[in-house]
Amino acid sequence: MFERALVGSRKYWGLIVVLLAIIGVGFICYLKQLDYGLGITGMSRDVAWGLYIANFTFLVGVAASAVMVVLPYYLHNYKQFGKITILGEFLAVAAVLMTMLFILVDLGQPARVFNMILHPSLRSVMFWDMVVLGGYLLLNIVIGWLTLDAERKGEKPSAWLKPVIFLSMPWAISIHTVTAMLYCGLAARPFWLTALLAPRFLASAFASGPALLILFCLIIKRFTKFDAGKEAIEKVAQIVAYAVTTSVFFLLLEFFTVYYGQLPKHMIHFHYLLFGVEGYTGLVPWMWASLVLACLSLYLLINPGTRRREDFLAAACAAVFASIWIDKGLGLIVPGFIPSPLGEILEYAPTVPEILITLGVWGVGFLVLTVLYKIAVSVKEETAA
């Protein structure tokens, strides 16, 4: 089946070359980081996690969101999703791969990463996150590949695959729940210490992932003969609309508890994020951009007139993606560290090598995704013909 990735149009190879170039630049920067140390990034004494962990968190959400197309198709027999479940599963594969790479580039001693398996600590949430992410990657590769292979042969997928698919659904929820637990169990960081974090993560994941999926469907439709179908896209758009609404609702609940409760050590982090503290306002424009984009997408998605038009839908999905990337990326990680437990403020801004390494990891993800989508679309085109 893989040979379908080795034949393609000029545009396909052009895209591959561009992605390889981005990966190459990122890799060179990563070698520099290995040589100098993580000090090459904007991270510091007080801000121990930055852009890498921000992207990690965001992408776990994208990976988990595959369940939003898998579940209606397999559990509720919603036939319209038959064509796009494979796109959801392959998106999950690429996203999980990126989360793992982001953890790897964030490690101070990447060569010792296997200490997590040689000396595992069951009390550490990070150990369990490794377990669920690894499992999820495996599940999606197996499910995606075998269902596509069966489709190519015009057969039904093997019977044993069915329970595996059912297992992948709660597993998807688990990856994002455990990732939230990395943060929401730390009494030292009041900004994250909220039981609402896992639900918030899931809501924003089910908005950002399917939004990305819609964008990919629209792009694929333009460049190939594969069309996910108007009804399927409309349905995913509805899912995104509900999820964004829930996500914003959860965020407002968080604001209420913090600002009405007036607990200073909780409030100060939100204050830093929304208004700045002592003249330090590094994240303020970003967070307001996120909020404005969220409102805009809400308007475009709730209003059926705009939601059903492809151009408006594409704009809304891009807005959702950007809004949540900020809110759940740097907007979630950095304020956890500012001010520090001692009340000191050391602001964070990513450096150029850090950004290039980040782009490199995204490049790897997109490369894997391009190849997988190429295979999937080729098979779909053949079976349709």
């Binding site: 000090g39 101070g108 009340g343």
Partner: protein, 260 residues
């Protein structure tokens, strides 16, 4: 030649791989350390090392930094001269930053802005130990929270979990920033976390912690075993009003502060 289908070959390969992986995996999983309840509750295990800091007697307000210098010299702690890369085992912060919940408008004159020594609290219930994915940081029987620079993978989860900002990360090679290397103690490589170790290597030789020794006459720092009812440290805590940093977090710090 024996006819082997591709499918059959892959199946056999898969079985071989499972066979090779199963034994080491079982060995690893069968010696997992389960969380020890006794360690969390801090039951009596014979020795519980702790420190008392006499806040007002400390001469840091007059510019004294003997203890910090002794500590950082002996442990090869680099001085980067910038807060971004900074590594600190022992340092002073204003009183209000060490005890943020005690901050108000009318703090006593002697306490307002008073340089307060802060270090790893060697918590009885350390959150850093709970989160470490590799066991690179753990609590010894005598209460010292240790850091294994050989095992640390540099994920910095412990830094996120520490409510006291007591842990530092080697963002870059520290060697050029160490004034004079003490060959009796290792330096650190980039990419690992480090912190105060209560001078575990000196205690093993029967010596007091370096900071305590540097301040021996002034008696600002008192070090001892809290399990021993006749110890000096127990008597001091018995006679004075004492504070712990952020006690409401349930970490039970083993560095106590007295204000007299």
């Amino acid at each position: 030649m024996m006819k082997v289908s591709r499918r059959g070959f892959l199946k056999a390969t898969g079985l071989v791989v499972i066979g090779l992986v199963a034994k080491p995996l079982f060995d690893t999983l069968s010696r997992l350390e389960l969380p020890q309840l006794s360690a969390r509750l801090g039951t009596l295990t014979g020795k519980r090392l702790a420190m008392v800091i006499n806040l007002k007697a400390c001469l840091a307000k007059d510019g004294c930094s003997d203890c910090i210098e002794a500590c950082h010299r002996i442990h090869n702690v680099p001085d980067f001269g910038n807060p971004k890369d900074e590594i600190k085992w022992l340092r002073t912060v204003p009183y209000e930053d060490a005890f943020p919940e005690l901050k108000h408008e009318f703090i006593a004159k002697g306490l307002k802005g008073l340089p307060t020594l802060v270090l790893c609290n060697h918590c009885a219930n350390p959150p850093c130990v709970q989160v470490c994915p590799t066991g690179a940081t753990w609590k010894r029987e005598d209460g010292i929270v240790m850091q294994d620079y050989h095992r640390c993978i540099g994920c910095r989860y412990c830094i996120a979990a520490c409510p006291y900002g007591s842990r530092s990360f080697n963002w870059r090679d520290p060697v050029p920033f160490i004034k004079e290397i003490n060959f009796g103690f290792p330096i650190r490589t980039r990419g690992v976390v480090e912190k105060c170790n209560f001078c575990e290597e000196r205690l093993a030789k029967g010596l007091p912690p370096a900071c305590v020794e540097a301040c021996w006459e002034k008696k600002v720092l008192i070090f001892g075993n809290l399990e021993d009812p006749n110890s000096n440290i127990r008597e001091i805590l018995h006679l004075h009003y004492s504070l712990q940093r952020k006690p409401y977090l349930g970490t039970n710090p083993q560095v106590y502060y007295i204000i007299t």
